[in-house]
Amino acid sequence: MKLLRQPTLWSMLLFLLFWQLGTLALGAMRLPGPVMVMRTLVDATASGELLYHLGITLARVGAAFVLAMLLGSAIGILLGRRKRVDRFFNSWLITLLNIPALVIIILSYVWFGLVEAAAIAAVVVNKVPNVAVIMREGARAMNRDYTELAQVYRFGYWKTLRHVTLPQLYPYLMASARTGLSLIWKIVLVVELLGRSNGMGFQLHLFFQLFDVASILAYTLAFVLVIQAIELAVLRPLDSAARRWRR
Protein backbone atom coordinates (compact mmCIF):
# COMPACT_ATOMS: atom_id res chain seq x y z
CA MET A 1 0.00 0.00 0.00
CA LYS A 2 1.47 3.32 -1.11
CA LEU A 3 -0.67 5.25 1.38
CA LEU A 4 0.95 3.50 4.37
CA ARG A 5 4.37 4.76 3.34
CA GLN A 6 3.24 8.42 3.36
CA PRO A 7 5.04 10.22 6.24
CA THR A 8 2.27 12.83 6.31
CA LEU A 9 -0.32 10.18 7.15
CA TRP A 10 1.69 8.85 10.07
CA SER A 11 2.45 12.29 11.42
CA MET A 12 -1.27 13.18 11.29
CA LEU A 13 -2.17 9.99 13.16
CA LEU A 14 0.46 10.71 15.79
CA PHE A 15 -0.93 14.24 16.20
CA LEU A 16 -4.46 12.88 16.73
CA LEU A 17 -3.10 10.40 19.27
CA PHE A 18 -1.45 13.15 21.33
CA TRP A 19 -4.64 15.17 21.11
CA GLN A 20 -6.68 12.27 22.45
CA LEU A 21 -4.14 11.71 25.25
CA GLY A 22 -4.40 15.40 26.12
CA THR A 23 -8.17 15.09 26.33
CA LEU A 24 -7.81 12.19 28.74
CA ALA A 25 -5.41 14.19 30.87
CA LEU A 26 -7.23 17.55 30.91
CA GLY A 27 -10.81 16.36 30.65
CA ALA A 28 -13.24 16.79 27.73
CA MET A 29 -14.48 20.10 29.14
CA ARG A 30 -11.14 21.87 28.81
CA LEU A 31 -9.83 19.98 25.77
CA PRO A 32 -12.56 18.24 23.74
CA GLY A 33 -11.31 15.25 21.76
CA PRO A 34 -10.99 15.08 17.97
CA VAL A 35 -14.28 13.27 17.50
CA MET A 36 -16.27 15.85 19.41
CA VAL A 37 -14.57 18.75 17.63
CA MET A 38 -15.34 17.12 14.29
CA ARG A 39 -18.99 16.73 15.26
CA THR A 40 -19.14 20.39 16.28
CA LEU A 41 -17.52 21.37 12.99
CA VAL A 42 -20.09 19.38 11.00
CA ASP A 43 -22.99 20.85 12.99
CA ALA A 44 -21.74 24.44 12.67
CA THR A 45 -21.25 23.94 8.94
CA ALA A 46 -24.69 22.40 8.50
CA SER A 47 -26.38 25.30 10.30
CA GLY A 48 -24.65 27.75 7.97
CA GLU A 49 -23.30 29.75 10.90
CA LEU A 50 -19.67 28.78 10.39
CA LEU A 51 -19.70 29.47 6.66
CA TYR A 52 -21.25 32.90 7.22
CA HIS A 53 -18.61 34.03 9.71
CA LEU A 54 -15.79 32.34 7.81
CA GLY A 55 -16.92 34.10 4.63
CA ILE A 56 -17.00 37.50 6.34
CA THR A 57 -13.52 36.99 7.74
CA LEU A 58 -12.13 35.77 4.42
CA ALA A 59 -13.58 38.82 2.66
CA ARG A 60 -11.79 41.08 5.15
CA VAL A 61 -8.57 39.09 4.77
CA GLY A 62 -8.82 39.33 0.99
CA ALA A 63 -9.47 43.09 0.92
CA ALA A 64 -6.70 43.83 3.42
CA PHE A 65 -4.30 41.51 1.60
CA VAL A 66 -4.80 43.13 -1.81
CA LEU A 67 -4.52 46.66 -0.42
CA ALA A 68 -1.47 45.89 1.70
CA MET A 69 0.35 44.15 -1.18
CA LEU A 70 -0.30 47.00 -3.61
CA LEU A 71 0.62 49.78 -1.21
CA GLY A 72 3.56 47.94 0.34
CA SER A 73 5.03 46.97 -3.05
CA ALA A 74 4.77 50.52 -4.38
CA ILE A 75 6.43 51.97 -1.28
CA GLY A 76 9.08 49.25 -1.08
CA ILE A 77 10.07 49.53 -4.75
CA LEU A 78 10.30 53.32 -4.47
CA LEU A 79 12.53 53.04 -1.40
CA GLY A 80 14.69 50.39 -3.04
CA ARG A 81 15.24 52.48 -6.16
CA ARG A 82 15.73 55.93 -4.62
CA LYS A 83 18.49 56.01 -2.03
CA ARG A 84 17.73 59.49 -0.72
CA VAL A 85 14.03 58.81 -0.24
CA ASP A 86 15.01 55.60 1.53
CA ARG A 87 17.36 57.38 3.91
CA PHE A 88 14.67 59.94 4.69
CA PHE A 89 11.86 57.48 5.40
CA ASN A 90 13.86 54.61 6.88
CA SER A 91 13.19 55.60 10.49
CA TRP A 92 9.45 55.96 9.77
CA LEU A 93 9.42 52.45 8.38
CA ILE A 94 11.26 51.02 11.38
CA THR A 95 8.84 52.78 13.74
CA LEU A 96 5.77 51.53 11.90
CA LEU A 97 7.24 48.05 11.76
CA ASN A 98 7.55 47.97 15.54
CA ILE A 99 4.28 49.55 16.69
CA PRO A 100 2.23 46.71 18.22
CA ALA A 101 -0.71 45.64 16.06
CA LEU A 102 -3.05 46.20 18.98
CA VAL A 103 -2.13 49.89 19.25
CA ILE A 104 -2.86 50.51 15.58
CA ILE A 105 -6.19 48.68 15.86
CA ILE A 106 -7.32 50.64 18.92
CA LEU A 107 -6.26 53.99 17.46
CA SER A 108 -7.98 53.20 14.18
CA TYR A 109 -11.28 52.48 15.99
CA VAL A 110 -10.87 55.60 18.17
CA TRP A 111 -10.20 57.87 15.21
CA PHE A 112 -12.57 56.44 12.60
CA GLY A 113 -15.21 54.74 14.73
CA LEU A 114 -16.27 51.11 14.88
CA VAL A 115 -16.77 50.79 11.12
CA GLU A 116 -15.68 48.34 8.45
CA ALA A 117 -13.23 50.78 6.85
CA ALA A 118 -11.48 51.33 10.17
CA ALA A 119 -11.11 47.59 10.63
CA ILE A 120 -9.61 47.03 7.17
CA ALA A 121 -7.37 50.11 7.46
CA ALA A 122 -5.96 48.87 10.77
CA VAL A 123 -4.99 45.53 9.18
CA VAL A 124 -3.50 47.20 6.10
CA VAL A 125 -1.38 49.60 8.18
CA ASN A 126 -0.10 46.65 10.18
CA LYS A 127 0.96 44.75 7.09
CA VAL A 128 2.25 47.47 4.75
CA PRO A 129 5.65 48.05 6.44
CA ASN A 130 6.29 44.32 6.33
CA VAL A 131 5.65 44.12 2.58
CA ALA A 132 7.61 47.33 2.00
CA VAL A 133 10.72 45.98 3.74
CA ILE A 134 10.72 42.76 1.69
CA MET A 135 10.02 44.55 -1.60
CA ARG A 136 12.71 47.13 -0.87
CA GLU A 137 15.18 44.27 -0.60
CA GLY A 138 13.93 42.98 -3.96
CA ALA A 139 14.26 46.35 -5.66
CA ARG A 140 17.79 46.72 -4.32
CA ALA A 141 18.76 43.32 -5.68
CA MET A 142 17.69 44.17 -9.23
CA ASN A 143 20.44 43.57 -11.76
CA ARG A 144 21.61 46.62 -13.70
CA ASP A 145 22.76 44.42 -16.56
CA TYR A 146 19.15 43.68 -17.44
CA THR A 147 18.08 47.29 -17.03
CA GLU A 148 20.76 48.32 -19.51
CA LEU A 149 19.72 45.57 -21.87
CA ALA A 150 16.14 46.85 -21.81
CA GLN A 151 17.38 50.37 -22.42
CA VAL A 152 19.63 49.51 -25.38
CA TYR A 153 17.01 47.36 -27.05
CA ARG A 154 14.31 49.94 -26.31
CA PHE A 155 11.87 47.75 -24.42
CA GLY A 156 9.86 50.76 -23.25
CA TYR A 157 8.01 51.02 -19.95
CA TRP A 158 5.49 48.15 -20.08
CA LYS A 159 7.76 45.63 -21.75
CA THR A 160 10.49 46.40 -19.20
CA LEU A 161 8.03 46.03 -16.33
CA ARG A 162 6.68 42.73 -17.60
CA HIS A 163 9.83 41.03 -18.83
CA VAL A 164 12.62 42.56 -16.76
CA THR A 165 11.35 44.12 -13.53
CA LEU A 166 8.55 41.82 -12.35
CA PRO A 167 10.39 38.53 -12.96
CA GLN A 168 13.20 39.82 -10.73
CA LEU A 169 10.76 40.91 -8.03
CA TYR A 170 8.67 37.75 -8.21
CA PRO A 171 10.44 35.76 -5.44
CA TYR A 172 10.09 38.74 -3.13
CA LEU A 173 6.42 39.13 -4.04
CA MET A 174 5.84 35.46 -3.22
CA ALA A 175 7.67 35.78 0.11
CA SER A 176 5.65 38.79 1.17
CA ALA A 177 2.42 37.15 0.01
CA ARG A 178 3.15 34.07 2.13
CA THR A 179 4.08 35.92 5.31
CA GLY A 180 1.31 38.41 4.49
CA LEU A 181 -1.46 35.87 4.45
CA SER A 182 -0.57 34.37 7.82
CA LEU A 183 0.02 37.74 9.49
CA ILE A 184 -3.14 39.30 8.09
CA TRP A 185 -5.55 36.61 9.11
CA LYS A 186 -4.24 36.68 12.66
CA ILE A 187 -4.68 40.45 12.86
CA VAL A 188 -8.12 40.34 11.24
CA LEU A 189 -9.31 38.11 14.07
CA VAL A 190 -8.14 40.62 16.69
CA VAL A 191 -9.80 43.45 14.79
CA GLU A 192 -13.06 41.50 14.75
CA LEU A 193 -12.80 40.66 18.41
CA LEU A 194 -12.40 44.32 19.35
CA GLY A 195 -14.87 46.09 17.14
CA ARG A 196 -17.00 43.99 14.82
CA SER A 197 -20.18 42.03 15.41
CA ASN A 198 -19.49 39.23 12.96
CA GLY A 199 -16.59 37.15 11.63
CA MET A 200 -14.38 34.51 13.20
CA GLY A 201 -12.86 36.83 15.80
CA PHE A 202 -16.29 37.86 17.08
CA GLN A 203 -17.44 34.23 17.25
CA LEU A 204 -14.32 33.10 19.10
CA HIS A 205 -14.87 35.83 21.65
CA LEU A 206 -18.44 34.63 22.11
CA PHE A 207 -17.33 31.00 22.58
CA PHE A 208 -14.73 32.15 25.10
CA GLN A 209 -17.45 33.76 27.20
CA LEU A 210 -19.58 30.61 26.94
CA PHE A 211 -16.52 28.44 27.64
CA ASP A 212 -17.32 26.49 24.47
CA VAL A 213 -13.86 25.08 23.73
CA ALA A 214 -15.17 22.58 21.17
CA SER A 215 -16.49 25.40 18.98
CA ILE A 216 -13.26 27.36 19.34
CA LEU A 217 -11.29 24.36 18.08
CA ALA A 218 -13.81 23.62 15.33
CA TYR A 219 -13.57 27.19 13.97
CA THR A 220 -9.80 27.12 14.19
CA LEU A 221 -9.69 23.84 12.32
CA ALA A 222 -11.95 25.22 9.59
CA PHE A 223 -9.69 28.22 9.13
CA VAL A 224 -6.49 26.19 9.04
CA LEU A 225 -8.05 24.03 6.31
CA VAL A 226 -8.96 27.07 4.24
CA ILE A 227 -5.45 28.55 4.52
CA GLN A 228 -3.94 25.18 3.58
CA ALA A 229 -6.23 25.03 0.57
CA ILE A 230 -5.09 28.49 -0.55
CA GLU A 231 -1.47 27.43 -0.17
CA LEU A 232 -2.01 24.26 -2.22
CA ALA A 233 -4.37 25.64 -4.84
CA VAL A 234 -2.93 29.11 -5.40
CA LEU A 235 0.54 29.74 -3.96
CA ARG A 236 2.24 26.44 -4.82
CA PRO A 237 1.21 26.46 -8.51
CA LEU A 238 2.27 30.12 -8.80
CA ASP A 239 5.58 29.19 -7.25
CA SER A 240 6.34 26.31 -9.57
CA ALA A 241 5.24 28.29 -12.61
CA ALA A 242 7.79 30.93 -11.73
CA ARG A 243 10.54 28.39 -11.09
CA ARG A 244 10.16 26.69 -14.45
CA TRP A 245 13.24 28.39 -15.89
CA ARG A 246 15.57 27.42 -13.05
CA ARG A 247 18.01 24.60 -13.50
Binding site: Y146, L149, V152, P167
Partner: protein, 250 residues
Protein backbone atom coordinates in the same frame (compact mmCIF):
# COMPACT_ATOMS: atom_id res chain seq x y z
CA UNK B 1 19.82 50.96 -42.69
CA UNK B 2 23.41 51.11 -41.57
CA UNK B 3 24.47 54.46 -40.16
CA UNK B 4 27.75 56.32 -39.97
CA UNK B 5 29.00 57.27 -36.60
CA UNK B 6 31.04 60.10 -35.16
CA UNK B 7 32.32 59.80 -31.63
CA UNK B 8 33.99 62.54 -29.66
CA UNK B 9 34.78 62.07 -25.99
CA UNK B 10 36.72 65.02 -24.60
CA UNK B 11 36.60 63.85 -21.06
CA UNK B 12 35.16 60.96 -19.09
CA UNK B 13 35.74 60.62 -15.36
CA UNK B 14 34.75 58.05 -12.79
CA UNK B 15 34.39 58.70 -9.09
CA UNK B 16 37.24 56.87 -7.44
CA UNK B 17 36.05 54.32 -4.95
CA UNK B 18 36.92 54.99 -1.33
CA UNK B 19 37.78 58.66 -1.72
CA UNK B 20 35.28 61.49 -1.68
CA UNK B 21 35.11 63.78 -4.67
CA UNK B 22 38.26 62.43 -6.32
CA UNK B 23 37.63 61.61 -9.97
CA UNK B 24 39.83 59.45 -12.10
CA UNK B 25 39.96 60.47 -15.72
CA UNK B 26 39.46 57.38 -17.89
CA UNK B 27 39.12 58.86 -21.39
CA UNK B 28 40.71 62.04 -22.74
CA UNK B 29 40.36 63.71 -26.14
CA UNK B 30 39.28 60.64 -28.02
CA UNK B 31 37.68 61.28 -31.40
CA UNK B 32 37.02 59.02 -34.38
CA UNK B 33 34.50 58.39 -37.11
CA UNK B 34 33.09 55.18 -38.55
CA UNK B 35 31.69 55.13 -42.09
CA UNK B 36 28.34 53.51 -42.80
CA UNK B 37 28.90 49.79 -43.26
CA UNK B 38 32.47 49.91 -41.99
CA UNK B 39 33.87 47.28 -39.62
CA UNK B 40 36.10 48.92 -37.03
CA UNK B 41 37.98 47.07 -34.31
CA UNK B 42 39.06 48.82 -31.15
CA UNK B 43 42.13 47.33 -29.49
CA UNK B 44 43.77 48.33 -26.27
CA UNK B 45 45.07 47.03 -22.96
CA UNK B 46 42.46 45.66 -20.59
CA UNK B 47 40.91 48.17 -18.25
CA UNK B 48 41.55 51.05 -20.62
CA UNK B 49 37.92 52.09 -20.86
CA UNK B 50 36.85 50.23 -24.01
CA UNK B 51 33.59 49.08 -22.44
CA UNK B 52 32.99 52.59 -21.12
CA UNK B 53 33.42 53.87 -24.67
CA UNK B 54 30.83 51.43 -26.03
CA UNK B 55 28.42 52.35 -23.23
CA UNK B 56 28.79 55.99 -24.20
CA UNK B 57 28.04 55.20 -27.86
CA UNK B 58 25.06 53.06 -26.80
CA UNK B 59 23.66 55.91 -24.72
CA UNK B 60 23.93 53.96 -21.45
CA UNK B 61 26.43 56.42 -20.04
CA UNK B 62 25.52 60.07 -20.52
CA UNK B 63 27.92 61.41 -17.90
CA UNK B 64 30.79 62.59 -20.12
CA UNK B 65 31.94 65.66 -22.01
CA UNK B 66 31.71 65.30 -25.78
CA UNK B 67 29.17 64.00 -28.25
CA UNK B 68 28.09 61.00 -30.28
CA UNK B 69 26.57 61.75 -33.68
CA UNK B 70 24.94 59.42 -36.18
CA UNK B 71 24.82 60.01 -39.94
CA UNK B 72 22.51 62.75 -41.19
CA UNK B 73 22.23 63.89 -37.60
CA UNK B 74 19.74 61.16 -36.84
CA UNK B 75 18.74 60.93 -33.23
CA UNK B 76 20.03 57.82 -31.50
CA UNK B 77 16.42 56.70 -31.18
CA UNK B 78 16.12 56.57 -35.00
CA UNK B 79 19.10 54.23 -35.36
CA UNK B 80 18.53 50.53 -34.78
CA UNK B 81 21.31 49.83 -32.32
CA UNK B 82 22.49 46.33 -31.45
CA UNK B 83 24.81 45.68 -28.54
CA UNK B 84 26.51 42.36 -27.79
CA UNK B 85 27.66 42.77 -24.20
CA UNK B 86 30.72 41.13 -22.70
CA UNK B 87 28.47 38.72 -20.81
CA UNK B 88 25.50 37.32 -22.74
CA UNK B 89 22.80 39.01 -20.61
CA UNK B 90 19.97 36.74 -21.66
CA UNK B 91 16.89 37.11 -19.47
CA UNK B 92 16.98 33.78 -17.58
CA UNK B 93 13.18 33.67 -17.16
CA UNK B 94 12.52 33.82 -20.89
CA UNK B 95 13.31 31.14 -23.48
CA UNK B 96 16.03 31.67 -26.07
CA UNK B 97 13.45 32.52 -28.72
CA UNK B 98 11.59 34.93 -26.43
CA UNK B 99 14.87 36.66 -25.65
CA UNK B 100 15.50 37.15 -29.35
CA UNK B 101 11.97 38.36 -30.04
CA UNK B 102 11.92 40.80 -27.14
CA UNK B 103 14.98 42.61 -28.48
CA UNK B 104 13.48 43.12 -31.95
CA UNK B 105 11.02 45.94 -32.56
CA UNK B 106 7.57 44.36 -32.84
CA UNK B 107 6.96 45.45 -36.44
CA UNK B 108 10.25 44.14 -37.81
CA UNK B 109 10.43 40.73 -36.14
CA UNK B 110 11.14 38.20 -38.85
CA UNK B 111 10.61 34.57 -37.79
CA UNK B 112 12.20 33.25 -40.98
CA UNK B 113 15.38 35.23 -40.35
CA UNK B 114 15.46 34.13 -36.70
CA UNK B 115 15.01 30.50 -37.73
CA UNK B 116 17.87 30.83 -40.19
CA UNK B 117 20.15 32.55 -37.63
CA UNK B 118 19.35 29.92 -35.00
CA UNK B 119 20.28 27.20 -37.45
CA UNK B 120 23.57 28.83 -38.42
CA UNK B 121 24.40 29.45 -34.76
CA UNK B 122 23.64 25.80 -33.92
CA UNK B 123 20.74 26.69 -31.65
CA UNK B 124 17.87 25.25 -33.68
CA UNK B 125 17.24 22.62 -30.99
CA UNK B 126 17.36 25.13 -28.15
CA UNK B 127 14.76 27.66 -29.26
CA UNK B 128 12.48 26.83 -26.36
CA UNK B 129 15.17 26.20 -23.76
CA UNK B 130 15.78 28.51 -20.85
CA UNK B 131 19.23 30.18 -20.82
CA UNK B 132 20.33 28.47 -17.60
CA UNK B 133 20.31 25.16 -19.46
CA UNK B 134 22.74 26.46 -22.08
CA UNK B 135 26.54 26.32 -22.01
CA UNK B 136 28.52 29.56 -22.02
CA UNK B 137 29.24 29.18 -25.71
CA UNK B 138 25.59 28.63 -26.54
CA UNK B 139 24.56 31.65 -24.48
CA UNK B 140 27.04 33.80 -26.37
CA UNK B 141 25.69 32.52 -29.65
CA UNK B 142 22.15 33.29 -28.53
CA UNK B 143 23.23 36.82 -27.65
CA UNK B 144 24.67 37.18 -31.15
CA UNK B 145 21.46 35.91 -32.72
CA UNK B 146 19.53 38.41 -30.62
CA UNK B 147 21.66 41.29 -31.89
CA UNK B 148 21.59 40.17 -35.54
CA UNK B 149 17.87 39.41 -35.59
CA UNK B 150 16.89 43.02 -34.99
CA UNK B 151 18.84 44.06 -38.14
CA UNK B 152 20.94 46.71 -36.43
CA UNK B 153 22.09 49.80 -38.28
CA UNK B 154 24.96 50.03 -35.83
CA UNK B 155 26.28 46.98 -34.03
CA UNK B 156 28.42 47.36 -30.90
CA UNK B 157 30.33 44.29 -29.76
CA UNK B 158 32.29 44.01 -26.55
CA UNK B 159 34.72 41.08 -26.73
CA UNK B 160 31.89 38.78 -27.75
CA UNK B 161 34.11 35.74 -28.37
CA UNK B 162 36.22 35.84 -25.24
CA UNK B 163 36.36 32.63 -23.15
CA UNK B 164 35.19 30.46 -26.03
CA UNK B 165 37.16 27.51 -27.31
CA UNK B 166 39.09 28.24 -30.50
CA UNK B 167 36.93 26.27 -33.00
CA UNK B 168 33.71 27.82 -31.66
CA UNK B 169 35.21 31.31 -31.76
CA UNK B 170 36.37 30.76 -35.34
CA UNK B 171 32.93 29.53 -36.35
CA UNK B 172 31.27 32.54 -34.74
CA UNK B 173 33.67 34.97 -36.41
CA UNK B 174 32.68 33.40 -39.74
CA UNK B 175 29.04 33.81 -38.83
CA UNK B 176 29.58 37.44 -37.90
CA UNK B 177 31.38 38.18 -41.18
CA UNK B 178 28.69 36.41 -43.21
CA UNK B 179 25.96 38.44 -41.62
CA UNK B 180 27.94 41.63 -41.85
CA UNK B 181 28.62 40.98 -45.56
CA UNK B 182 24.90 40.47 -46.19
CA UNK B 183 23.66 43.49 -44.31
CA UNK B 184 26.60 45.88 -44.28
CA UNK B 185 25.93 46.86 -40.73
CA UNK B 186 28.26 49.42 -39.18
CA UNK B 187 30.29 47.49 -36.60
CA UNK B 188 32.28 48.75 -33.64
CA UNK B 189 34.08 45.72 -32.24
CA UNK B 190 36.08 45.85 -29.02
CA UNK B 191 38.77 43.22 -28.48
CA UNK B 192 42.16 42.86 -26.84
CA UNK B 193 43.06 40.09 -29.28
CA UNK B 194 45.02 41.74 -32.12
CA UNK B 195 44.88 38.54 -34.13
CA UNK B 196 41.11 38.69 -34.11
CA UNK B 197 41.20 42.39 -34.99
CA UNK B 198 43.37 41.84 -38.08
CA UNK B 199 41.14 39.02 -39.23
CA UNK B 200 37.89 41.00 -38.95
CA UNK B 201 38.48 44.71 -39.37
CA UNK B 202 38.45 47.27 -42.17
CA UNK B 203 40.31 49.51 -39.78
CA UNK B 204 41.89 49.04 -36.37
CA UNK B 205 41.94 51.74 -33.71
CA UNK B 206 44.69 51.26 -31.15
CA UNK B 207 43.93 52.84 -27.80
CA UNK B 208 46.48 53.63 -25.10
CA UNK B 209 45.89 53.10 -21.42
CA UNK B 210 44.75 55.51 -18.74
CA UNK B 211 43.52 58.01 -19.59
CA UNK B 212 42.52 56.42 -22.87
CA UNK B 213 43.54 58.22 -26.06
CA UNK B 214 43.57 57.23 -29.68
CA UNK B 215 47.13 55.98 -30.14
CA UNK B 216 47.19 54.83 -33.73
CA UNK B 217 44.93 53.96 -36.65
CA UNK B 218 45.69 51.04 -38.98
CA UNK B 219 43.63 50.30 -42.11
CA UNK B 220 43.44 46.65 -43.18
CA UNK B 221 42.71 46.60 -46.90
CA UNK B 222 43.28 43.01 -48.02
CA UNK B 223 39.96 41.26 -48.79
CA UNK B 224 38.95 39.07 -45.85
CA UNK B 225 38.90 35.87 -47.93
CA UNK B 226 42.65 36.26 -48.52
CA UNK B 227 43.57 36.86 -44.89
CA UNK B 228 44.99 33.49 -43.85
CA UNK B 229 46.81 32.69 -40.64
CA UNK B 230 50.29 33.35 -42.07
CA UNK B 231 49.27 36.71 -43.51
CA UNK B 232 47.55 37.79 -40.30
CA UNK B 233 50.64 36.93 -38.28
CA UNK B 234 52.89 38.88 -40.62
CA UNK B 235 50.56 41.89 -40.68
CA UNK B 236 50.47 41.86 -36.92
CA UNK B 237 54.27 41.82 -36.71
CA UNK B 238 54.76 44.52 -39.29
CA UNK B 239 52.03 46.96 -38.39
CA UNK B 240 50.83 46.33 -34.88
CA UNK B 241 53.50 45.02 -32.53
CA UNK B 242 55.72 48.12 -32.75
CA UNK B 243 52.78 50.23 -31.63
CA UNK B 244 51.83 47.83 -28.88
CA UNK B 245 55.18 48.58 -27.24
CA UNK B 246 54.32 52.25 -27.51
CA UNK B 247 50.90 51.60 -26.00
CA UNK B 248 52.50 49.75 -23.13
CA UNK B 249 54.90 52.61 -22.47
CA UNK B 250 52.33 55.37 -22.71
Amino acid sequence: MSAALHVEVNEKRFAESGSDGAHKQVIADLAFGVAAGEFVCICGPSGCGKTTLLNIVAGLDADFRGEVRFSDDQAREAVELGYVFQNPRLLPWRTVEENVRLASPADSYDPALVGELMKVAGLAGERHSYPEKLSVGMSRRAALVRAFAMRPGVLLMDEPFVSLDAPTATRLRRLLLDIWAQRRTTVLFVTHDTHEAVELADRILLLSGSPTRLFHEIPVTLPRAERDGVWIERFRREHLLQHLDGVAQS
